[in-house]
Amino acid sequence: MQVLSPQFKPRATLALKDASLQAALGKARGGFVDKRAAAAAELPEFEQLREEAKAIKEHTLDHLDFYLERFEERVKAQGGQVHWARNAEDAQRIVLEICRKANAKTVTKGKSMVSEEVGINEVLEQEGIEVIETDLGEYIIQLAKEPPSHIIAPAVHKTKAQVSELFHAHHSKLGLTKVLTEVADLVNEARQVLRGKFFRADVGITGGNFLVAETGSSIIVTNEGNGDLTQTLARVHIVTSGIERVVPTLDDATTFLRLLARSATGQETETYTTVSSGPRRPGDPDGPEEYHVVLVDNGRSKMLAGRFREMLRCIRCGACMNHCPVYGAIGGHAYGWVYPGPMGSVLTPLFVGLDAAYDLPNACTLNGRCQSVCPVKIPLPDLLRELRHMQHEAKLSPWYQRAALAAWGFVASRPRLYHALTGLAVRALGWLGRGRGRFGYLPLASAWTKGRDLPAPQGKTFQEAWRERRGKSS
């Protein structure tokens, strides 16, 4: 996927001016936040579950090699195959080879962020294979030829009217010419179109919300059942998953399942939770002939050893972006790559580079709301600040910012000089602003005064006024 993160600022500005995007975002924001809050409040042990989940992840990351090998062993014992992908190219090659071997003409896909990350669709399409996204949101953006703007609600940036237009444009060719305006009708039409594709598919690709080492199973959760149709109806099932998604036992997985739906959408549980353990066994009524798991590293083992290890706890619920006021203002596309919002602002620089994704860790107010709702308690603001530190050390911030910071640091470490200068500035500004009490424009402060007035100071600094009133008592 193309990296557009370097254009964050202009893309954010466009997003702010996009009326239909703003309408879509406004609708989504309240829903996710209120529903999550209600779901968390209804479960007395919710906070305790967060602690447990964090501990399980930490334990698993401490012994990741062990659990991954155990997972591989169990998958093989059940007749499945495990492939290790060091990077995106590896993952593309592995999936392509499996599809070639299966003589695949049609591939259905359940939602998988990892497959977006490593760019599976492009490679398969180049090979002449028809790729169909079956998650409704993914299907919508595939028709629109857009990347997802949210990790669990990929088409959250689209309004109903836009979807209606899109369906009309694409489905007319299939003889479905009626213009639909009701959500239920739109969903039904998508189901109708997708149903045939499920039966025709040679290969079904899904992600893996969790991989269970104990049983060699992959677990996916969906609200549409599309994942089940993808993985049971095709001859070959491929799971693409990051290496960090493994958990030790089924019991551990249930801890996460209880947190995931509540954190993501405020549901107690998703409509479908499906556990896959190997290919169809003799006597099974359905299921694929082949079961493959592609374990994707793509930089994760490097994170494991470094300062961003805690990010590997992420279960991709999307709560951080649902609660991020910056995401809420600009939506996901401005971030310019696969993962948006707070978790994306940590991951993207690590994947595509500190320079290319310079803005992402900086376009954050460090308000901490993401951390407060993260089901596995990732200290996202600290990690974002750590990225800023690395950018500062690498001198990636604009020269004028570094110069201003250095000048300020020089003055602020010299209290006498500091108080002399602030005293003068405050006196001047206080005098200039005394009439209106504020400034509509101020040279050198135009970034502030662009969208808001600057309150005028009261004429003297506190230090000055204090010493006048109380003498030099301290």
Partner: protein, 259 residues
């Protein structure tokens, strides 16, 4: 309100840089509230800023330099109190982390951390103040600044004290806990996004029907007041300490001297 011991605790007032430059009246309100509760308040002249602008810009070396300055300046006080959740969270939570690899300074930072408090929560939680003697006619709404709220747990404390102000009625706004778009240097690095966030905040303040906005952090209050004035809204803006000290009779933020 009583002063339980003849010589109350000795407080070093952390005069935040925004308060020092833009709104000294908040400092005097803080002093009044602390003295009314029996404290002795001093304002060390050797202080400038907690270093948060450097910290949040990733310049940890400059932050450490300023942190050491603060640690030394406020050595020996029983408590260090400031009228800002943001600055006090930096001192309380970030300083010890900054010196993780420096045992000597880490210990000093932890000692300062234990003694440092945000003003409003210090009054209720440490000094056990449960009421103030002040009057303010009108309906107010309260913006929960993020650092105070999420890093220091400041939420109920200001409301508890405001409830004892005669004539004051609190009307909660929608999304009081959502960031106003200030974010320190964020607001000048990403002014368009910040403006949108501030506009959302202003809309919620307006919808609350309150005539006055209160909060505990001047950064947020300056941002919101600035956006409010730009949009031509009549809502007044004060730091909560000014109202609690009965010192909100002058001009609010961004208002001219004579109204």
């Amino acid at each position: 309100m009583t002063s339980p011991v003849p010589a109350g605790p000795r407080i070093g007032l952390f005069a935040t840089c925004l308060m020092d430059s833009f709104r000294p009246s908040v400092g005097f309100a803080a002093v009044k509230l602390l003295e009314d509760a029996g404290c002795t308040v001093e304002v060390p002249a050797a202080q400038t800023c907690c270093g948060q602008p450097a910290l949040n810009s990733g310049d940890f070396a400059t932050t450490r330099r300023l942190a050491k300055q603060v640690i030394e300046t406020f050595a020996g006080f029983d408590y260090v109190v400031g009228p800002s959740g943001s600055c006090m969270a930096t001192i309380k939570n970030d300083y010890p982390q900054l010196f993780a690899d420096d045992p000597q300074w880490r210990e000093k930072a932890e000692d300062l951390s234990r003694r440092s408090f945000e003003l409003l929560s210090f009054l209720t939680d440490v000094l056990k103040v449960d009421r103030v003697k002040a009057r303010f006619e009108g309906t107010v709404t309260y913006h929960d600044s993020c650092s105070g709220l999420r890093e220091l747990g400041v939420k109920a404390q200001p409301r508890k004290l405001l409830a004892t102000v005669e004539g004051l009625k609190l009307s909660e706004m929608q999304d009081a806990e959502t960031c106003c778009g200030f974010g320190g240097t964020f607001c000048v690095k990403y002014p368009d996004i910040s403006e949108k966030m501030a506009s959302d905040k202003v809309a919620n303040i307006e919808a609350s029907g309150a005539g006055t906005l209160l909060g505990g952090d001047l950064g947020c209050l300056m941002n919101i007041a600035g956006r409010m004035k730009r949009l031509g809204k009549p809502v007044r803006v004060f730091h909560a300490a000014e109202v609690l000290a009965g010192m909100a009779d002058g001009p609010g933020l961004a208002e001219p001297e004579v109204r």
